[in-house]
Symmetry: C2
Subunit: 277 residues, 2 copies
């Protein structure tokens, strides 16, 4: 069976996030662009918004928790964004971001529960289906649901009958439970190396699409995930972050049994190398 | 200034070595192919010969020192080669390989001081010049001289006046000293993370070409080399082994100041991840 990977780890700013960020920022009018944008994220969304804003000449403020990895703060600042961390915990950053937005009249760019973000993320699968007509199954990681809902939206529109799967870390399988129960399940902050999939609940807009267009949601444990990260680096010479390896890990673990040519979306490559030690 | 990289880390068996190995094996007649091949190497040449032999259906024996990294022994065996390590040190492996060859009538495939190996390695630069007419400078790592002499041979033939540079680790700069003095200098086993460039002396055939066609040979220390490996993985999402990063490190360190578009050959990606810890 042929497996191809969609290398969003080679994407600008190191993940698929710039697709949604760029699409959202392109919708702003001149006045909104002048007032700038605000985003809250400790990870790839921060870097995606920061780079998209720089490319469009829009001022950006990113609210990151005080516990953020120094490397990710530096990367976000290196794209020209103003980073706010003082007094910010994961729980309060949403509120702080909205306060900053109200004060400056800046637009908040949400990480996943947003139509512009979903449509931007959808372009990855659009490219897959356009470039590879035989593709029969697409597998993506699942965090808040931006990538999975976007993937399902574009791929099933272009190719009805295609199977779309989402993969979560076992410890943070709120999406799997939501999909199975038909209601959004909220969990406590999960302990998993897949830092991009530590979201506590899928977004509402994302869930509506996922329920309707996704074949199944499965999960894999951190052990096989770490094995997959190492395998990928050793065999493909590509740096893949744990969240990005979820789809491949699900294939290795036999959690997904595709019925034909399968495309696996590697969502990002912003790996903290200390994980390999 | 535009810099492009030639990703031999993405090559079959993880390095440029398969180019020379395949070319050498293709020259063997049917009788020689039946009797098989022998190579001595603890690194990428072992894997290159093993894979080339498998692809051509030729039995291969690889003599590796007992101190070889387990992962590299496994990789070589996984390509179907017979690996001999018992009683083998780096100093004796050459003799042991020749004994095996004499006993079985097998052909010894040397790592670099061989016209077939040089011509095979030369195809990397052939591709560079054919694909990128504007290229003005080519930078490659330097160990035994197979890649550098091959690169100089093909690139200066196709584009006279092109500048070719070789880069060594500072602790193992026999090639730099040979190039400057005009005579092959032999050194003691060097301590450097660039395990592919720990050769004690350049090969005679390689040196004859390098003297005539290479612009300069420079060296970089292990500190900047490790920085470059990490930078490459972080910024390009490509896994590069220390030897493969020599060319980029020389540019970062300002040891080479190209006068135009420059192609840097990344020789391999078989990285021992413990180096990052």
């Amino acid at each position: 069976m042929e497996v191809r990977i969609k290398c969003e780890n080679l994407q600008r700013a190191g993940s698929f996030k710039i697709r949604g960020a760029m699409n959202a920022l392109l919708q702003l009018d001149d006045d909104q662009r002048r007032r700038g944008v605000v985003a809250f994220s400790s990870g790839n969304h921060a870097q995606g918004v920061a780079l998209a804003a720089r490319l469009l000449g829009i001022p950006a403020t990113i609210v990151m928790p005080e516990s953020s990895v120094a490397m990710k703060v530096q990367a976000t600042e290196s794209y020209g964004a103003k980073v706010v961390t003082a007094g910010v915990t994961s729980a309060t950053r949403d509120t702080i971001a909205r306060e900053i937005a109200e004060k400056n009249g800046a637009a908040v760019i949400p990480p996943f529960d947003d139509t512009r973000i979903i449509c931007g993320a959808a372009t990855a699968a659009l490219e897959i289906v356009e470039e590879w007509h035989e593709v029969n199954t697409i597998v993506t990681p699942l965090g808040g649901g931006g990538l999975l809902s976007g993937t399902a939206l574009s791929s099933t529109s272009l190719k009805p009958g295609i199977d779309v799967y989402g993969v979560e870390p076992e410890a943070g399988n709120d999406g799997e439970r939501s999909f199975k129960s038909g209601k959004i399940v909220t969990i406590d902050p999960p302990k998993t190396i897949a830092d991009g999939a530590r979201t506590l609940a899928i977004g509402q807009r994302n869930f509506a699409i996922i329920r309707e267009r996704v074949r199944d949601v499965v999960s894999v444990n951190d052990e096989i995930l770490l094995e997959t990260v190492k395998w990928s680096m050793y065999r493909t010479k590509l740096v893949i972050e744990p969240t990005g390896a979820l789809g491949l890990a699900a294939l290795f673990a036999g959690k997904i049994r595709p019925k034909g040519p399968v495309a696996v979306v590697i969502s990002g490559g912003n790996l903290d190398f200390s994980l390999l030690c």
